[in-house]
Symmetry: C2
Subunit: 343 residues, 2 copies
Amino acid sequence: MDYRSAGVDIDAASDVVRRVRGLAQKTFTRGVLSDIGAFGGLFQPDLEHVDRPVLVASADGVGTKLKVAFLADRHDTVGIDLVNHCVNDILVQGAEPLFFLDYLATGRVAPDVLEAVMRGLADGCAQNGCALLGGETAEMPGFYAAGEYDLAGFIVGLVARDRLIDGSGIRPGDLLLGLPSSGLHTNGYSLARRIVFDTLQLSVDARVDELGATVGDVLLRPHRSYLRPVRRLLASGDPLVKGLAHITGGGLTDNMPRVLPAGTAARVDRGGWSVPPVFGFLQREGRVPVEDMYRTFNMGIGMVAVVAPDALPAAEAALAEAGESGTAVIGEIVEGDGRVVYG
Amino acid sequence: MDYRSAGVDIDAASDVVRRVRGLAQKTFTRGVLSDIGAFGGLFQPDLEHVDRPVLVASADGVGTKLKVAFLADRHDTVGIDLVNHCVNDILVQGAEPLFFLDYLATGRVAPDVLEAVMRGLADGCAQNGCALLGGETAEMPGFYAAGEYDLAGFIVGLVARDRLIDGSGIRPGDLLLGLPSSGLHTNGYSLARRIVFDTLQLSVDARVDELGATVGDVLLRPHRSYLRPVRRLLASGDPLVKGLAHITGGGLTDNMPRVLPAGTAARVDRGGWSVPPVFGFLQREGRVPVEDMYRTFNMGIGMVAVVAPDALPAAEAALAEAGESGTAVIGEIVEGDGRVVYG
């Protein structure tokens, strides 16, 4: 008995490492000192103009959106989802991404599938100016169904301590400026899949006329990165935003409270923006209570910036300059106990 | 239909976050600025005495050792495995750990199991002076079997650029100093499980007389951290080691080449140390070819330090001072093409 007969193919894994190396190298920024395959990835940050550097780190997964990728046999977008999700998670504290590492676990290494996943990761990293510094590909027979995998990511970014965005300056009267999402991003897929595939019995290739696209196209639309527009908001000497919330698992209901200081709440005006059709479709077909919709899906708002009323025109102008359209004032900060109140 | 009926329980997940927060806080070192639950974890490294700081990052998983933990229903050691594995992976480049993040994915959140896993992670972090800065717990119904989970970790460490260990100074004649492993560490479990559970049909509670312990005790023994002894090797002004290899998946055969400069090879003397009984047991019962043993398991050597012959006495003394026993010269560097040659 040997390792291969026990289901682990080290040679196939080495082949993947070779394929991935070229993809990753294209993402290498100036700070990268190592190559893929080293025990650890090496990154020397440029700290010359950063006073009291703070590292900001986050871990995340793609979640069950992966199941849609399996059904569609389309593996080059989930990496983009993951990188953008991670970039947004540290961006809300003011951090610029430095580097990213992935964890990919599968039952049996399928080199073409893995290469597609890695291509998505590399594309996502390149788009965000973030180095794909390393990662782990784990072959775990008996853990994952044939052709399936799980994918997680880890990002590290940098911000000067006095440029940290922590929401502490948020006051009643501040406004909630919503930035549009591109779709479901990476949250709510367990519910969305149940509605679409179990209740409606749709196939991934089925066209949904009211959405103007196939189920696969709608559900696999990649999670947006907000790096470009938010970077513009943060660029001025006195940042135009007091707080930022990435609207992920838990929706507006659970994510806004993460930036609210004591004694405040967020009043969200559900009529303040037009909810994209996909959410109405899911709500109607799944008979989902509206409270659950706003605690499960992003409902068309992927990022919320909290701005003082007098900073609103400058913030809107900065976002427009960065090419951001469809922003909307979706509510305001009020006195309260840290919750979201819908009005 | 709501999110809970689709198999995702946000409240149970929040309960886990609450339980984990206290465990993680005990690991917080001076640099930690954030609390568990923030979008990103914040860490301000002390760079005052670090010339040209280099960040060293690594991602890893526990692999199918998790299956043994499931069988034994013992979940508080796999976190220690993972942290120590990660610590060793950046230690070989000379880095001290700063912080760690986990990714835990499961089919349905079982708070007690997750708390045990997190306790192991927190213990591992505390033992290595590394902050458990954050992580992601993903509930992914339909991905993982009932009661099962996958666990991955990400670590970031720090080293001054001129203290990086990269093996470039390794020359023929240098010696391989092996540091003992505590068991299988986290590699070779797909093969070991097949031999023990499928071929021998042993239960996890079965006592194996020649190993003086139960199957579960032998197979779940935690992966060692080499931080303490290796830190001592690196502490002197002129480091006593030229290269370090963490012997993980691929064994001595695949890991030694990762630090060999061009034109060199590693000659390993299989008689140079006493291989622990568990490996002989697996080899015999599984009829595993010897080449596969050395490319699958660590065979009792978890870390190899490459030292110049004249530095050997000082290196051995430093290791002894750090409480390390059972070290052995297991071979030497020769001219060659980057491979391991067994003699």
